[in-house]
């Protein structure tokens, strides 16, 4: 950890405060069906169409657990370098809400499926470790819709019973920037593992944010407030900034901070107390008698361990060692599994370093402009590798390569074909170049004389003429050499 370079503090007249942040991330498990029922988890269905009698808690309905959700939680735990508990218990968390049909959420309280782990963040001031307290499985609630009718709330239970992983961090995070890095890192890991799609717009990744402040030098943690259910990184950051300032102001004025649940109002950009949740703090957890304790066999855990893909931290290290990339380049190229796969395919067929430069430059810019991502890139890895190879071998110049790239984007064609059909090959034959340059020198005898008389700036003019005549295809390095030689003579 590199604490001294860390610089997010709240300064007030009465002192300098640091902000202590812990996150409870709710990540939707990737599975076909729900945690305890056979209804689909697909996003965007018609209201109440993906609801079974179990999800809507009809009398006498009973939960049966989905094996895939167990595996996904274990995989995620392994990806977080965490302890897998081969004995865990499902508990009921009791509270009333219109979109909670059972009147309780099945969750894990005292004995979660995954214990302590850690995540490494790459911050500008170095790498930083954030501890994971635990990961447990639980059911999602349905959705209450308040704005379809002035008098009534509408309830859609499609989401009710979908499996979530609640990933609880230790209070190790110290700034909105670190929140950003933490969430992105979690998302990257889970996407590598295929355990959560990390789609925040669709609500697949949400977080409760715990914030407290303390004066620099204090050892004891301050009273924390929990900001519920924030669904974008930007809002998390805004909520933290607002909440930290609010707490500092209270402390500066000699007031106490009340431990409470707060809501982030995205319109007003402020947090406020959720009074309705006050008595709901008493969740009356107890082991769900409809389920038995979950025991995991060592073999199952081992098999999952063996099946894990290479994870971003490992891959980054390998990219640096194997491909000679800078830590920055490696970091960017491992940020999504699809990007790293694309890069590796390209790197195998072409120059590793040049491939990285071109991917992070032109390719990403193009994808970004078009609102595309690497998996639906109009340029395939194979074609992209050919383009890089053509540059590397001197077949085409960098400038021409940009043109070829554009055509590849439009047509999806192979670069060789484009270069050939459009005659874009770089002129690298010294004899051909000499012929062309002699022609130009003959045509511009006056300028040759001026150059020879000492007006060396004219060198650029001759280069320009060569490029013009060759249609930009003249090999720049060779052009320089030949020009120099002929102008001397």
């Amino acid at each position: 950890m590199n604490k001294e370079k860390f610089d997010y503090f709240i300064n007030s007249e009465k002192g300098k405060y640091e902000v202590i942040i812990g996150l409870e991330v709710h990540a939707q498990v990737l599975s076909n069906s729900k945690l305890f029922s056979g209804s689909s988890t697909k996003f965007g269905a018609n209201p109440n169409n993906q609801v079974s009698l179990i999800d809507s808690a009809f009398p006498g309905m009973l939960p049966v657990i989905n094996e895939e959700c167990i595996k996904q939680a274990v995989k995620t735990g392994l990806g977080l370098n965490a302890k897998i508990n081969n004995y865990s218990v499902f508990d009921r968390k009791n509270y009333f809400y219109a979109d909670l049909p059972q009147g309780y959420q099945i969750s894990q309280y005292k004995s979660p499926i995954v214990g302590e782990g850690k995540v490494t963040l790459d911050m500008p001031y170095g790498s930083k470790e954030v501890g994971i307290e635990r990961l447990h499985l639980e059911q999602d609630a349905g959705k209450s819709i308040h704005d379809m009718d002035p008098q009534y709330t509408y309830v859609d239970l499609n989401r009710s019973g979908i499996a979530l992983m609640e990933i609880v961090s230790k209070p190790d995070i110290r700034s909105p920037e670190e929140v950003n890095a933490y969430i992105k890192k979690l998302r990257t890991i889970m996407r590598y593992l295929g355990t959560c799609d990390g789609n925040m717009q669709e609500g697949s990744l949400r977080a409760d944010v715990n914030v407290s402040v303390r004066k620099i030098g204090d050892k004891k943690l301050g009273t924390r407030c929990e900001i519920k259910n924030v669904n974008s990184i930007k809002f998390m950051q805004m909520a933290i900034e607002y909440e930290a300032k609010r707490q500092v102001e209270l402390l500066d004025n000699g007031k106490n901070i009340e431990q409470e649940t707060r809501l982030f109002d995205t319109k007003k950009n402020e947090t406020r107390s959720m009074r309705s949740k006050e008595d709901a703090h008493d969740y009356r957890y107890f082991p769900d008698p409809d389920l038995l304790p979950l025991t995991l066999e060592e073999k199952m855990i081992d098999d999952l361990k063996k099946s894990l893909p290479e994870l971003p931290d490992k891959k980054k290290e390998r990219f640096i060692n194997e491909y000679g990339l800078s830590p920055y380049e490696a970091n960017v190229l491992v940020s999504e599994k699809e990007i790293s796969d694309f890069y590796e395919e390209v790197a195998k067929l072409s120059d590793k370093k040049l491939a990285a430069t071109w991917m992070m430059g032109d390719l990403f810019a193009m994808l970004n402009n078009k609102g595309l991502n690497i998996s639906n890139s109009p340029i395939t890895a194979k074609n992209f590798a050919e383009l890089i190879q053509s540059i590397k071998s001197g077949e085409i110049s960098g400038r021409i390569a940009k043109e070829v790239f554009e055509i590849m984007v439009q047509s999806g064609d192979n670069p060789k074909k484009i270069i050939e059909s459009k005659g874009m090959k770089q002129q690298s034959d010294p004899k051909e170049l000499e012929k062309m340059i002699n022609e130009i020198l003959t045509k511009n005898k006056d300028k040759v004389d001026q150059y020879k008389a000492g007006k060396e700036k004219l060198f650029g003019f001759f280069v320009g003429e060569v490029m013009k005549l060759s249609g930009g295809k003249a090999n720049p390095q060779l052009t320089n050499e030949v020009l120099k030689k002929l102008l001397k003579g």
């Binding site: 009398p59 006498g60 009147g103 703090h281 009356r284 038995l292």
Partner: protein, 485 residues
Amino acid sequence: MSDLTNKNLKEIVENIKLKKISSLDLTQAYIKNIEGAKKLNTFVTTTFDQALEKAKQFDQKPNYDQILPGIPLAVKDLFCTENVKTTAGSNILNNFVPSYESTVTKNLWDSGAFLLGKLNCDEFAMGSSNETSFFGNVINPIGDQLVPGGSSGGSSSALAANLTPATIGTDTGGSIRQPASFTGTVGLKPTYGLCSRWGIVAFASSLDQAGPMTKTVTDCAIMLEAMSGFDEKDSTSIDKKKEFYSKNLKDNIKGLKIGIPKEYRVDNMPKEIDELWEKGKKILKNLGAQLIDISLPHTKYALPTYYIVAPAEASSNLARYDGVRYGYRSQKSKDLIDMYENTRSEGFGDEVKRRILIGTYVLSSGYYDAYYLKAQKVRQLIKKDFDNNFTKVDAILTPSTPSSAFKIGEKTNDPVSMYLNDIFTVPVNLAGLPALSLPAGVDKQGYPLGLQLIGKPLDEQKILNIGYAFEKNCSFKNKINKWWL
């Protein structure tokens, strides 16, 4: 021909198989009985038209290979029945019509039986006298002013009054065995996990078990065979091969060791109960069983433990009755929370409210360890008591109840005295064991009394065998004079 409804299930099945009676005639005979017995208030819902239709279908295309061929059955109104109102004895489910059939009832229908109607019970099976039902108390055919026991009081009463040839109930703390004992009938609570809980309105999930209520032990074996079995929809259902209890019924119990627990001789127990127990011991001894004195030291803590565990689970199980998706909703509400509070206040009766509050309290912050956790620890001790003794004995003999049927209203004002009714039955639920209540005699008023045989987990066959042998040698005869006609 003679009135078949006086006969037991086995005899009725034989008569159907020998074509001495049609399913339709049989069904009509029961309908006639039911219509004449409205005073007993046993039925919440009748499904006569549907039953007659099923009977006709059976007669047209009989399948005599099934174990309940063309048999009409009424069941406790705690089992969800497809397209037939299911109330659990509560106002809050007064208008609830499930679109699904409980696994246990489906098993019965798959064995050839069909539904005659839904039987009254204590609200959400919380009660020992059937006085907590929203649909009014049930009366015991034994006597005009007597309770039929609870919570499966409608079931015991209907069975004893010949309104159904056999029936099923649920037993969370004695709700099958105590009413069986009060009506001179046979009741079995199976091992936890033997019968699926899927589709049964839940009271306390770790204790609830469905089981048969019948006139004889043989009938009990037939019904258990039909209703039990592994169900993948219930995570607590035991995955094991189906057993053929009726075919394997044997009356030779020579050499079996029967435990007699000293802790079941409680203070103030009526002399008649003691005498009944002695009579039971003697019968078993004469049949060649060996009686062994045993100790179940934590017995007295079973009931207090039960009154923590069951309400705790119930408070959570009953949270789903909120007026949103089914059942009753109060119209007096200005917002959501108001709607919940009024719906649940108007929808639940007093006993249910009491238990929800007890359960909520024992789970609440600051009290969990002192009550709920403590109870789970004592439950462990109670289970160990049984485990320790079952290495020495094959079964345990105790009285079923500390008294015979009491008068309506006699105990409604004192919840604890009502709860004490289940003192002998509750330990079995806490330990997940099977137990059979057998009619064994009468008290000085002529009211029936029962004895309980407790078995090891999944040892239903053995306690049925002991019960079968006992029944043959006990010469108990239920005397019901049909005073309601």
